[in-house]
Every structure is written in structure tokens, then in C-alpha cells.
Symmetry: C3
Subunit: 138 residues, 3 copies
Amino acid sequence: MKSYRKELIFHAEKRRQLFNITPQVEEALEESGIQEGFILCNTMHITASVFINDDETGLHADFEEWLEELAPEKPHSRYRHNTVEDNADAHLKRTIMGREVVVAVTRGELDFGPWEQIFYGEFDGKRPKRVLIKIIGD
Amino acid sequence: MKSYRKELIFHAEKRRQLFNITPQVEEALEESGIQEGFILCNTMHITASVFINDDETGLHADFEEWLEELAPEKPHSRYRHNTVEDNADAHLKRTIMGREVVVAVTRGELDFGPWEQIFYGEFDGKRPKRVLIKIIGD
Amino acid sequence: MKSYRKELIFHAEKRRQLFNITPQVEEALEESGIQEGFILCNTMHITASVFINDDETGLHADFEEWLEELAPEKPHSRYRHNTVEDNADAHLKRTIMGREVVVAVTRGELDFGPWEQIFYGEFDGKRPKRVLIKIIGD
């Protein structure tokens, strides 16, 4: 069994921002030389997410609005976590969106349906944050 | 390390529909001959879900009602994704329910608790859609 | 490829309770002797969750309040699942929080960011329940 590890770094300019990271994940897979196996791709932070969905700006605007409905940022005093911090909403938003994805690797490629794209979802940005890619297989 | 890959196809008659796919996943595992490892089971579409829960019709009705509360289908104009499409709600519902499950394989079987069952959750049906099963192990 | 399996048992005194299980998962990893691979950690029950977030009591209180907003326990009659059972809300809460986590193993350790901790989230407690740890790798 082979394994490969790589970190990506993202520095969102906004508090909340989505990045399509599919090209970087494909690049890591190629570097690994692994043909059959699994890729794990997860955020290393608890106020961010890695998830799979559509790369469509209307949908991304819908996500922003919807997450603000389900777990509003403000008032910050709404949350008990927000004493020194102001990012409780980001912990909740990331819970909805998920921490990680596991993707099948088949014949050296991401084994994806037609519209699947991998995103890094930042919900407490304006500082550098890391995504971990770990690949195991043969 | 061995690996095995199989696709399942579902054609939901309704827009939203749940299918218990545990027997098909067990069949794929048997075909693979893998005794110890992991199964990844994911929808290949971004308006559907693979998740684990109880096979109980009351609960399934509760899921339908609850998802409609959290991410209502209508009015379609509610979502910016819905220009040519009308399925923004399906992208959000799938986000709540999850894209994939990873299940342990032990002694050639799904290593499950007493009530765990795997479901394909369709939220934008009336057309054929695919589920990917990928198994790695020995 | 090596594999290792272990069950943990939790008996929550309250209906809803969070347990930081990171030390037990690290212990299992050490027992496994696996240096490079993946850990799967999942609840074996459908009214509980394994998830990764911050070990901060304010945030845990926020989770409790937020989950009660999104999927209230009462009135029990609100849910069709609650005929003999009264735990439909626990099935929904667990859906938000997730069934499982997959964590990379690198050089024999959980490959974590600075604040990541693994939790068992019980939403229908007062009885013994199991968490499965399965590790594959070399």
C-alpha cells in the first residue's frame, strides 16, 4: 500500500468564501502515482469545510443565504462560544457543510460524477488555513 | 491491497424518494472478496445523498417534512440557482443528508450496529442517477 | 495492508451528552501499530454521532441550543416516528452532526490541525451504546 500526503494553504480575503480546489486535488493525485484507492480531503480547522457540490455562482449565493438563516453570524452575543471569539456561527456552518470528503480513485483519477467538484468552504477567514490531502492505495 | 468498483443505477419515479440499498452494497462486497477494509458508497450526483439511518416509514416521512422545513422546494424563485434549473433545494437537502458513507468491512461483512441501513436519497428524481461503490482492503 | 478494529462503549447519563473520545482513538491507533493509513470512527447507532470540532463548553452549549432549534425534541407527537419511540429528534440531530469521521494517520499519529478533537455525540442516551474504530494501512 502506498500513501501520499500534501497540505494546501488558503487565505480567504472575506470572512466567508468558497474555493474550488478540484485542480489542486487532481494535481496531488497525479503526484502520488496512486491508481486505485481512496483520497481523504479535509480541512484542518474547525470553522471551515471541505465539501462536494456544483461550481455555480447562483448556488453559492444560495448557500451563503441559507447558512446565514440556519446559523446566523450576528448578533455575536447570541452564542456562548463568543466570549473572546466571534466565530461560533462558523463552527455551526461548517457542521452543516461537513469537515471532509472521501473520494474513490480509479485508474489514477478522481472517480466523479459529471458535476462533482471539491470546495474549500471558509467561514472564518482573513487568515491562512490548511487543507489536508491524504491518499492511500496502490 | 485489493480494490473493487461497482455502479448502481436508480430511477426515482418521484422528485424525492428514499431507497434502502443495503442489499446491493452487501452483494458488491461479496463480489469483491474483500475481508478487511473500507467501503465507500457515494452518490455521483450533487442533488442526491447516500446516508445511514433507520428503515422506518414514519421516520422517512419525518425526514421529508423536516428537509422541506430547512430547505423548502418552493417558491422556486427563492433560490438564485433556479434560473434554468429548479433544483436548488435538492442541492441543500443533499448537503444536510450527506454525499457519502464510509463503512468498515470486517470478516467479509459490513461492520454495522443493529439498526444501520444504507439509503440512497433522491431529491431531484425522475431520471436515472448513479451510486458508486468502491471497496479497498485485503 | 494491516487492519485493526476496536469498539468503545458509552453510557450517557443524560439524553444528550458529548464525550471527547480523542484519547481513546489515539490509544487504539497506538495499539494498531499502523503508521500510514486511515482511521474510520463511527457510531454504531442511528441516534448518535461521531464528529470533529472544538472542546469548548460554550460551543457545546451552543450546539445543544442550535440542534434543539433545528430539530426540537418536543412535542414528541410532532414526529411520525414517535409511536412506540420518542427519539425521532435524535435521528435528525445525528443527521446534522454526522455518523462518522475519517482521519488520516501519518507517522503513527492522528494527522490533525491545532484544534481538532473527536467527539461522540449522544442524542438518545441513558443506555449503553457503541463506537467503532477501524484502522487500515501499513
